[in-house]
Amino acid sequence: MATAKLTKIPPQASASDLAKREQRRILRTALIYILPAAIIMLLITFWPLVYQLWMSFTEYSNRNLRTSNLLLQMWGTMTGNLVPYNSPPWVGLKNYIATLNGDLGKVLAGFDFWRILLFNFVWTFVNLVFHVGIGVAVAVMLNQEGLRLKRFYRSLYIIPWAMPALVSAMIWRNMFDDQSGAINQLLKAIGMPGNSRWLQQIDPPLSWIPPYVRVPEGANAYFFLFVLILLLIVPYFFRWVRQHWLPFTLVWWIGMELLFVGVLPLLLGGGSQSAEVVPLGSVFPLSFYAVLTTNVWLGWPFMMAIATGALQSIPRELYEAADVDGSSGWYSFWHITVPMIRPAMIPAIIVGMTMTFNQFNVFYFVSGGGPLHQTEILVTQAYRLVNETTVNLPGVGNVRPYGIAASFAYIIFIVLATITLITNRVSRATETYAD
């Protein structure tokens, strides 16, 4: 009878050893998968950002475009040895300060940083309200059970999104022509006055729109308007405020308005005689509304598409249960539809916000930033800085201020990043609550 010989069992790898090997394997695979993209991006995406950051701290201009070695050029600036690689002189934060305190207005016609920031901000906010409002409304309407021709409508509504923005913007500009653009012709056809000079009228049409700010002469009214708008809008990101929105709105808005019209001039000094009232409506000329119409036409299908997808994942039982409990359509909408589509809409809103904030095409092609630079936003100004402005630098002559443009771009970035971070932080809180 053979007995099995006991053989020596080789030492087994312990669990933690396996785990470590596994970790390393994962790391190695991840690295290989990322490498091609990482190399390319490091070279052409991130490196120019570094170079541009360095540029923003210097007096970079046309002369410095011709250089044989970028790194040595940067080194040349740091060491003060400007000649060999055409290095621009270092100026520290001078470019940034010039932008923020209005010195830039000396070379860039019509530039007023706080006004443009306010304009950009309100532009983004109003656009998003319309995009999401119309998009969700149409999506809900088309989502009705038993509606005919749903697919037909949905596919055609996509057209504004599919068309190149450049083409759409130019078409709309043509339509807003004051003599016989389509808009004015349509108005005439239905008997209304059809001779608004949409893109040229300088006086703001609805200049009485609140809120108001009263500041003594010399103070920048737009800065305070911007702060006021922030104070009026930001609280609604908090759940407590939204739940008690009616009393809060009454108290807060009236209180803030009193503060900015009554108390502010006293705080800033200067007698009330020299203080002027500046309403928000005065910031927006007629062409703003024209560009707004264009961008709303362009942008709502995107939100509709997202909302449609999200709506279709809401189980009908929820609505049925609510109906049995006697809820009206409106109540169901706010308490079932909105919370259920919110997780899908929020990323879309964030993307939409970034795109709208930096929406260059519509402003450049519909209003051209006009009339008289009243509809400029930050990116159109940045473009003009790079392409249409010259600055007289001592010892160099009239050159393009690429250094200032670089600092401007970074300011735009900081603004947008701040808004995104705040929105992200708040929306994440809302999302977990909704779950």
Partner: protein
């Protein structure tokens, strides 16, 4: 909205839907009307102009711009740029997107943050740096061609593509890959045989978006290219719009607009199902 579809509701909804449709479609009808109007007016007064003809289309096919470049060359350049950007971002970005989605490695969070940062910076910010860099590294000849523009575009398109595709891949359940792994598949096999077929709609959408971006790009092209033989369709379109409305050949401009838009719109419609589906899938899962 819940509730039985009554005739009244149907009629009201249809009327509303048609009104929205008119608002959406009107500018398109306008531009078509301008294109077939032989009078070259910037302000057509009726929707079907008298003497409607396709002469404007003929003109743009034979001599699209005052520069010595033919329509076919413009078309070739635009297509090369659009296809190049689209193909490269998808080819290079897919593996990276997969890694960001599936693997946990140090620097992953930083990488994702980096993408979002890049997306927020307007391209006007990096134009100068890329200009200088391309001049030095690739030489002014290449910079002054669509290759230069292509490289500059990829700088922004690649992060977006990776971010987009990661979103798609996030929505694909991991169980399939785990099952494959248990059955002994290597990471590469899992990626090629399981992941790629499932992620195809997402890849298609990303490719489409890259194509659209390349096709309609003209700001970068104007900055980089001065040699007419490398002009693109979008550049020609932009160039047609003269300083003063009176000088612009409106019929040709309208015709060119239509020609530039048609390929994009057609492909968009064809892939519509994927675009909407993909975006919402990514969105719903957060």
């Amino acid at each position: 909205m819940y509730g039985k579809m009554t005739l009244k509701k149907q009629v009201i909804s249809q009327i509303l839907a048609i009104l929205v449709l008119l608002a959406v479609v009107f500018p398109v009808l306008w531009i078509i009307s301008m294109a077939i109007d032989p009078r070259n007016v910037s302000r057509p007064s009726t929707l079907i102009p008298p003497g409607a003809s396709l002469a404007a289309f003929g003109k743009i096919f034979t001599k699209p711009t005052p520069n010595p470049v033919s329509f076919l060359e413009l078309l070739r350049n635009s297509t090369m740029l659009a296809l190049g950007v689209s193909a490269l971002t998808v080819l290079v970005g897919t593996t990276a997107a997969y890694a960001f989605s599936r693997f946990r490695f140090p620097g992953r969070q930083a990488g994702m943050l980096g993408f979002i940062i890049v997306l927020m910076l307007p391209s006007v910010a990096t134009v100068t740096a890329l200009f200088v860099m391309l001049n030095i590294v690739l030489g002014p000849q290449i910079r002054n061609s669509i290759m230069g523009v292509g490289v500059a575009m990829i700088a922004g398109a690649l992060p977006f593509a990776i971010w987009n595709m990661k979103g798609f891949i996030d929505t694909i359940p991991r169980e399939l890959e785990e099952a494959a792994y248990i059955d002994g598949a290597t990471a590469n096999q899992t990626f090629i045989q399981i992941m790629l077929p499932l992620a195809l709609p997402g890849l298609a959408v990303t490719a489409l978006l890259g194509f659209m971006a390349g096709w309609t790009e003209f700001v970068l092209s104007w900055q980089f290219i001065s040699n007419p033989k490398w002009f693109t369709l979008s550049m020609a379109l932009y160039g047609m719009q003269g300083q003063y409305a009176a000088n612009t050949p409106w019929s040709q401009f309208a015709a060119m607009s239509i020609v530039v838009s048609v390929p994009v719109v057609v492909v968009f419609f064809a892939l519509q199902k994927y675009i909407v589906g993909g975006l919402t899938m990514g969105g719903v899962k957060g």
